[in-house]
Amino acid sequence: MDANLESNLFVFALAAFLGYEVVRRVSPQLHTPLMSLTNAISAISVVGAIAVTGVSHNPALVVVLGSIAITAAMINVVGGFLMTDRMLKMFKKRTVKPPAHSPGQHSPQPQEPNRG
């Protein structure tokens, strides 16, 4: 087997396995940001788009296709990261207001639980 193909297969298998292990630990409350973040990361194809656009001896058609690809990929990169961060910014550990702080898990005044 060709050496590049061989190493690419190993890299792919390891990365997919690693992705599986890492992602399945993500807390369900973060699944939407997760989708948005992986989405941004997969726009790493911008690297390929740059490489293909940049080569000087490529025909014009290729450069045009590549440039469109760069634009599309950059939308995905920038939009994906910004939106993820915007979502995550909203996740707060605790409200700062003292009254909201104290009740926590259990009601502070020891009262008999009543039903309904």
């Binding site: 990365a15 890492v22 973060l30 989708m35 990361i41 390929g48 290729v62 995905n76 909201a100 309904g116």
Partner: protein, 481 residues
């Protein structure tokens, strides 16, 4: 010196055939790519808890920026004017969109970003084909085939999905005669066209036909699927977009692309699995737009004469006597944009020393974690957002459960009636709480289209109103007390 002996020569030849048309990369670029790959993996790892999640995003951003800059320094990269202009257009287009899109529209926005990412991957494959065409080896052409197929179908598929979520396109599952046959035939035709590209790369006609078929297949694949299944579909398209980027990595022999793509490939796959499991549906089921068989009970049989309705004043009175309250949000909360009003109620109750928790079902709303994002937007601390498995054991000690715009995720039939179409889907057991107050506009069913015996339960009170208005009215009444 070195002789051009047979095995060495063969290795050189292989290099030329597979990605070898790219000059070997300078070491520093390779090392930066390696660092970027590790940063991407760390980024996903750090996303696992809210505490480190934003560091994760930062890691991803640094990795991406480093990779892009390193690529600009590749010796063969020349057309800087094109690259910079094209990149800038993308950045300028993306920023306002990402900053203003409302949180309720996140699913369709993700779908749109996908569409662009997938388009980029597909276009690069196309560009590679037109740049090197006949000079490419078989395995590279096969990789280009995968890249284009996955890229173009994800492009059109994601646009259709976004359209359905935005309700520009009809959300109902669209079926037509021989639907599955047509879809599969189109897929078959694309594969055949792809094979022809590999076999006759010099033929000018087959590649455009191949592209057209892939684009068409994306539409045909997603069109028949109902709007409610779109989140699962988007996760799956997520996975495809990743695999397409990975295929590009094989084409241009770039390990960073392979890793970034593979990470997203498995992430999207797991997410769609988790969603299917939480809905107790099979994957195939979702993909073919089928609704699960099973006999739902008739709505009239259940509801007839058993519905007790309340108004805001009565709800406020009930809450006034409660010590432990659970709020279960659902899709209706998103539709009504009721997150901020809900946050106000939460604060008000906390100020009155009521213990308020949120019970979040994994598929409440229309995408995984949807409710968490909305409630986080309303400044509700995430410690108070409990997962289904955390809140259910406590349910018997809860005085009042407020269900706001949720329906299927609190349907006790899923738990108790093995013949229900959603039998086996885990639910939040609000019916075990002291009193249940359900806020929705009518008795109409939720996503699964089936009636909900909860509404007729002894301890259940219906408050028919829009989710946001209901919250604001309850707050107003509570403040009078």
């Amino acid at each position: 010196m070195v002789d051009c002996s047979a095995p060495i020569f063969a290795a050189g030849l292989n290099t030329a055939l597979l990605g070898g048309h790219h000059a070997p990369m300078p070491s520093y670029v390779v090392l930066i790519y390696l660092a970027a790959a590790i940063l991407f993996a760390l980024s996903l790892k750090w996303l696992s808890t809210p505490r480190t999640a934003r560091v994760g995003v930062l890691a991803g951003e640094i990795g991406m920026a480093a990779a892009i800059i390193a690529t600009l320094f590749l010796p063969e990269v020349r057309h800087y004017q094109w690259i910079l202009v094209a990149g800038l257009v993308g950045v300028i287009a993306a920023i306002p969109v990402a900053l203003v899109v409302p949180m309720t529209a996140v699913p369709q926005q993700i779908a749109m970003f996908h569409a662009f990412g997938a388009l980029a991957a597909a276009l690069v494959g196309t560009a590679e084909y037109y740049a090197h065409g006949t000079a490419l080896g078989t395995s590279t052409l096969i990789a280009i085939g995968f890249e284009s197929l996955l890229g173009y179908l994800t492009f059109t598929g994601s646009i259709v999905a976004a359209g359905k979520l935005q309700e520009i396109l009809p959300t109902a599952p669209m079926s037509y005669p021989f639907q599955n046959f047509v879809s599969i035939a189109t897929l078959g035709a694309s594969v055949i066209a792809g094979a022809l590209v590999v076999l006759y790369p010099a033929n000018a006609l087959v590649f455009p036909i191949f592209v057209a078929l892939c684009l068409l297949f994306g539409v045909l694949l997603i069109m028949p699927i109902g709007g409610g299944d779109m989140p699962t579909v988007i996760a799956l398209l997520n996975s495809y977009a990743g695999l397409s980027a990975s295929a590009m990595g094989f084409v241009i022999n770039n390990k960073l692309l392979i890793i970034g793509g593979a990470l997203e490939g498995s992430s999207g796959f797991i997410l769609s699995m988790i969603m299917c499991k939480a809905m107790n549906r099979s994957f195939v089921n979702v993909l073919f737009g089928q609704v699960q068989a099973g006999k739902a009970q008739k709505a009239d049989d259940i509801y007839g004469g058993n519905i007790k309705s309340v108004n805001a004043e009565e709800v406020a009175a009930i809450l006034d006597g409660a010590i432990r309250v659970v709020i279960v949000p659902g899709y209706g909360l998103a539709v009504a944009q009721a997150q901020h009003a809900t946050g106000q109620l939460f604060n008000l109750l906390q100020e009155r020393s009521v213990d308020v928790q949120f019970g979040i079902h994994p598929v409440a709303g229309r995408m995984p974690g949807h409710m968490n994002v909305l409630l986080a937007e309303a400044d509700i601390p995430y410690d108070n957002l409990k997962e289904m498995d955390q809140i259910n054991p406590e349910m018997e000690n809860i005085d009042v459960a407020i269900v706001n715009g949720a329906n299927d995720v609190v349907n006790p039939d899923a738990r108790d009636n093995p013949n229900s179409p959603i039998a086996g889907m885990p639910i939040i057991n609000v019916d075990k709480a002291g009193t249940v107050i359900v806020i929705k506009r009518s008795l109409s069913p939720g996503f699964a289209g089936i009636p909900n015996p909860l509404f007729a339960a002894r301890n259940c009170l219906m408050y028919f109103a829009d989710g946001k208005k209901a919250m604001l009215d309850i707050i107003a009444e509570l403040e009078k007390l």
